[in-house]
């Protein structure tokens, strides 16, 4: 082949690169491994993640839910996972129809009218929502309510730092764990009020009231959901009055995978459709009147609008959105409801048991979905370390990871994956850990 194109050596392929820029040595990366060696190596590394095999009550933005076997089978089909972004609709209808179904499901769950084809994850979706609120309202102040996931807030802070947006914080009520009254903070420069519900402490927020507050001042209400399963049981943010809803879709059939890839859901009202970031799939017809689907409203996007685009996003989380779609369709209406029910019921059971333990309390009184804060008798990080090593249980997240002033508190998450026996073992373990 080299001769065919008129060259004598592979080096000549790179003649357009100045000689002194060409690497005259081998890369200092490892020599090639066979499949056998590679798998052995990764298996060994995987064993050094002992937490992956433990009974776990860790949530805080990434949740352990059952993933029906069909999900991985479908997303492993060559036709889906080795396809590109569906720019050529005639040979991408599989991907396009799946995204259209995804958009529809996101609308149904969030109670809103338009959803996009996905964002990177929940945190970046929230950042994009804030930027969109600024575009829509042409106002510059954004108020973040009470207990938003600290990593989400960090991401928002990064995204808005050069956008001329002022980020203010609303407090949360130390008794209920919900957002305190925000009326005083909102004014006519407020672009949006941002609330997470259930919030970082697991407390269900009064979204309807917050929506009213925001709308009274002409601001938008942005709702962030980190535990998307809650959408199956709790009043949809759209029904509560939210203008933009973002969510982390990991709970919908996506493995924990040390934090990614996950998938950001993004939905808004019809009237803001042309302000939405990211890709949209819409219905279209061919000359013979056959229904198909296409990427549409592309004029919002970077490849057309360049620096004036609604976002810089290009590659999104297609395959993970597909996984979520397969999950949602497999579980279906009744399955989603049952998962959500089991979460609430088991969480209530766990919270009740723990609250009765000597030295432990459950400080926040607001209704909860599947997470709650526990205040223990001693340093939570140490307590949880004891629980991990002595009982092989990951008991939750020490709040000190984010809140230095809450050394004794930790966040517990209970899902349908936690059997009553596991919960009882946790309770027993806490008793043991508390008295160490």
């Amino acid at each position: 082949m080299l001769q065919h194109v008129g060259l004598n050596s592979a080096d000549e392929l790179f003649d357009s690169i100045p000689k002194d820029l060409r690497l005259s040595r081998n890369l200092n990366t490892p020599a090639a491994l066979s499949e056998i060696e590679l798998l052995a190596g990764f298996d060994k590394l995987a064993e050094q993640n002992p937490a992956a095999k433990r009974t776990s009550f860790l949530g805080a933005g990434a949740y352990q839910h059952y993933i029906p076997t069909v999900v991985d089978h479908i997303i492993s089909r060559s036709e889906f996972f080795t396809a590109y972004t569906p720019y050529q609709p005639e040979i991408s209808q599989g991907t396009l129809q799946a995204i259209f179904e995804f958009q529809t499901l996101v609308c149904q769950l969030t109670g809103l009218e338009v959803a996009n084809a996905s964002m990177y994850d929940g945190s970046t979706a929230l950042a994009e929502a804030v930027l969109m609120a600024e575009r829509v309202t042409k106002r510059s102040k954004v108020i973040a309510c009470g207990a938003i996931h600290p990593e989400y807030l960090d991401v928002v802070t990064t995204y808005v730092q050069h956008a001329g947006i002022e980020l203010a914080r609303a407090e949360f009520d130390p008794a209920t764990g919900q957002t305190s009254d925000v009326a005083e903070l909102i004014d006519d420069s407020t672009a949006a009020l941002v609330v997470q519900s259930p919030n970082f402490f697991g407390c269900i927020e009064d979204v309807t009231t917050l929506a009213d507050r925001a709308h009274e001042a002409g601001a938008l209400l942005i709702v962030a959901v980190t535990e998307a399963i809650s959408l199956a049981l709790l009043k949809s943010p759209g029904a509560c009055g939210a203008d933009i809803v973002v969510a982390e879709g990991q709970s919908f059939g996506v493995p924990l995978s040390f934090g990614g890839p996950y998938v950001g859901l993004f939905a808004t009202r019809e009237k803001y459709a042309r302000q939405i970031p990211g890709r949209l799939v819409g219905e279209a017809y061919d000359k013979q009147g056959r229904r198909g689907f296409v990427l549409t409203l592309a004029t919002r996007e970077q490849h057309i609008r360049r620096e004036k685009a609604t976002s810089n996003i290009c590659t999104n989380e297609g395959l993970i959105a597909l996984a979520a779609t397969v999950y949602l369709e497999t579980m279906g209406r009744r399955g989603l409801q049952e998962v959500a029910q089991q979460c609430v019921q088991k969480t209530a059971y766990a919270a009740k048991q723990i609250a009765t333990l000597a030295g432990f309390s459950v400080p926040f009184s607001a209704p909860r979905f599947n997470e709650f804060v526990v205040r223990g008798p001693r340093n939570a990080k140490e307590l949880l370390a004891w629980l991990a090593s002595e009982r092989n249980i990951t008991g939750g997240l020490p709040l000190s990871r984010y809140f230095k002033d809450r050394p004794n508190e930790f966040l517990v998450c209970v899902t349908e994956m936690n059997s009553r026996a596991q919960i009882d073992a946790l309770v027993d373990g806490l008793t043991g850990a508390g008295s160490q």
Binding site: D43, F80, Q103, A117, D121, G260, A309, Q345, Y349
Partner: protein, 529 residues
């Protein structure tokens, strides 16, 4: 059931409905273990006003076999790498190894929670660390963050780093004067969009007739002291190596700016040349291109940001760092780790950092795959892949020049651009050629990009095709060129072999239908057993 015969569709596969249209009340496709705690009335746990009152109306009710058939059927409407060549220029559609998929599914990784205490996730952190090391070696840029989720995200991160660096160097007032980002007219749309996100305004640099950055124009634009940096793709989006890259970097640096390189085209360089050696300050990579993590119909990706030592303090937090020497704490916590003599930690203490760009650590599953790619290829395999990618593009360039207009004479790197200039006489345009390629069993190339080439057809074969397939592709393209002369209608109405024909995209955008809605009149379909 109606007794009269409804219209019979010719074949059920190409007529698979939306799942919502297949839904039947009462059908289920799941089973959970029974609830094993005493069930409380839901309203006693969550006040009624917080509960959904629509009973999830509209969410589908289907069986498991319905789901399987639904997705298997619609999947057959897709083209994929596994079916054949996918020569999308700028997209590097190379083979996605099955082995890497297996690695990503190892339970010790797939089941690991991102907020696991670092001590209990040493294996996972080692993967990140090792990948960082390899990417640093490959790019020649030592500071790496794997947090960005895709190329555009990496760009944003890189540009924010430039901004933060200048803020720190020049102080607020000095920095405020530098709000211009220079971007060539051939650049990908994400470049200006990312620059904008960081508060820069964009100035466009012209390309020369040879398809390279116009140095004079660059010098001129740099002469006003307002330039924060330059965003350059190299090889550029025409598939040409910017041979003046050192001079370009010098000009920008002399003007007080930094050089950002869009690394989307690194498949032409791995093992052959390193951006860090060229004078580039910061770059993003697309693991979902160069390092073969699957595209998945539009993601997930992973867009690592790689920078010089000087810029390292500005990278997102947390950084994953390695500390040598055993940790007593770890030795007691987990016997498996006893022999570990280096420990991986999360370092949040980076006061100059631009901050977090994503929750947790980024698209971790993609990092596993990319590391597996690097390890299975080896240093020699990585270089060989680069050579094959460039050779294949050269082979196509050679095979098509006599038939299609090739606007730039310079030998291409890993991709080559042609135009429809010779075909337009008969009214056949790039779009038509692309659609007709579908009938020949190929995915079309990238079309109408870069924007500066009218009727552009950007072809990137990658290293994952053999000569047989290259020949088939060239033959197909030559055949289409003949058809464009002999039977233009055939080409203009292509594709002819797909489930649907060309869709009316304009109509779709005019009155967008972006989700399925139950028809108001639809009486609930009923199925009884």
């Amino acid at each position: 059931m109606k007794s009269e015969i409804t219209k019979v569709t010719s074949h059920i596969n190409p007529n698979e409905a939306l799942i919502f249209e297949r839904s039947q009340p009462g059908r289920i496709g799941y089973r959970l273990p029974p609830l094993d705690v005493d069930e409380q009335a839901i309203e006693t746990l969550v006040p009624k006003q917080f509960l959904r009152d629509d009973d999830l109306e509209g969410v589908p009710e289907v069986s498991e076999v319905d789901v399987i058939r639904h997705f298997v059927r619609i999947s057959t409407w897709n083209y994929s790498i596994d079916q054949g060549m996918y020569p999308l220029g700028s997209c590097t559609m190379k083979y996605n190894s099955r082995l890497n998929e297996k690695v990503a599914r190892i339970p010790g990784f797939a089941g690991l929670h991102p907020l696991t205490d670092a001590e209990d996730a040493q294996g996972a952190l080692e993967v990140i660390y090792e990948l960082q090391q390899h990417l640093a070696e490959i790019t020649g840029l030592p500071g790496i963050s794997l947090q960005p989720a895709a190329g555009a995200h990496g760009e944003m991160t890189g540009v924010m780093i430039i901004r933060a660096f200048i803020d720190a160097r020049d102080g607020e007032a000095g920095s405020a004067k530098r709000r211009t980002m220079l971007i060539p007219d051939s650049a990908h749309g994400t470049n200006p969009a990312s620059a904008h996100l960081s508060g820069f305004s964009v100035k466009t640099i012209r390309s020369t007739p040879e398809g390279l950055t116009d140095l004079d124009h660059l010098r001129e634009l740099c002469s006003h002291g307002e330039v924060a940096g330059l965003m350059l793709t190299n090889p550029n989006t025409l598939g040409l190596f910017e041979k003046n890259i050192q001079e370009i970097c010098r000009i920008v640096h002399d003007a007080g700016g930094l050089v950002y390189m869009d690394g989307a085209n690194m498949n032409a360089l791995v093992g052959v040349a390193r951006p860090g050696d060229m004078g580039v300050d910061v770059i993003h990579l697309n693991l979902h291109k160069t390092f073969s993590t699957p595209h998945g119909g539009g993601g997930p990706g992973c867009g690592p940001c790689c920078c010089t030592k000087e810029l390292e303090p500005f990278l997102p937090v947390p950084r994953i760092i390695k500390t040598e020497g055993g940790s007593a704490e770890i030795q007691t916590r987990n016997s498996k780790l006893e022999t570990r003599n280096s420990v991986f930690k999360l370092d949040f203490d980076q006061p100059q950092s631009i901050g977090r760009v994503k929750a947790f650590f980024g698209n971790y599953g993609m990092m596993l795959r990319a590391l597996a790619y690097i390890q299975t290829h080896g240093f020699d395999g990585l270089r060989e892949a680069t050579e094959a990618a460039v050779l294949n593009a050269r082979y196509i360039a050679h095979g098509l020049t006599s038939v299609y207009d090739k606007p730039y004479n310079n030998p291409p790197m890993h991709e080559v651009v042609f135009t429809d200039k010779r075909q337009t006489r008969k009214g056949v345009h790039t779009l038509d050629i692309a659609k007709r390629l579908i009938d020949y069993g190929f995915h079309p190339m990238t079309i109408y990009f870069p924007l500066i080439v009218p009727g552009a057809m950007l072809i990137e074969p990658t290293e994952s095709v053999g000569r047989q397939e290259l020949d088939q592709f060239i033959e197909a393209m030559c055949s289409i060129a003949r058809e464009a002369v002999d039977d233009p209608e055939l080409v203009l109405n292509a594709p002819h072999t797909t489930r649907i024909g060309r869709l009316d995209e304009a109509a779709a955008a005019r009155k967008p239908v972006l989700r399925w809605k139950a028809r108001a009149t639809a009486s609930a379909a009923q199925e009884s057993r």
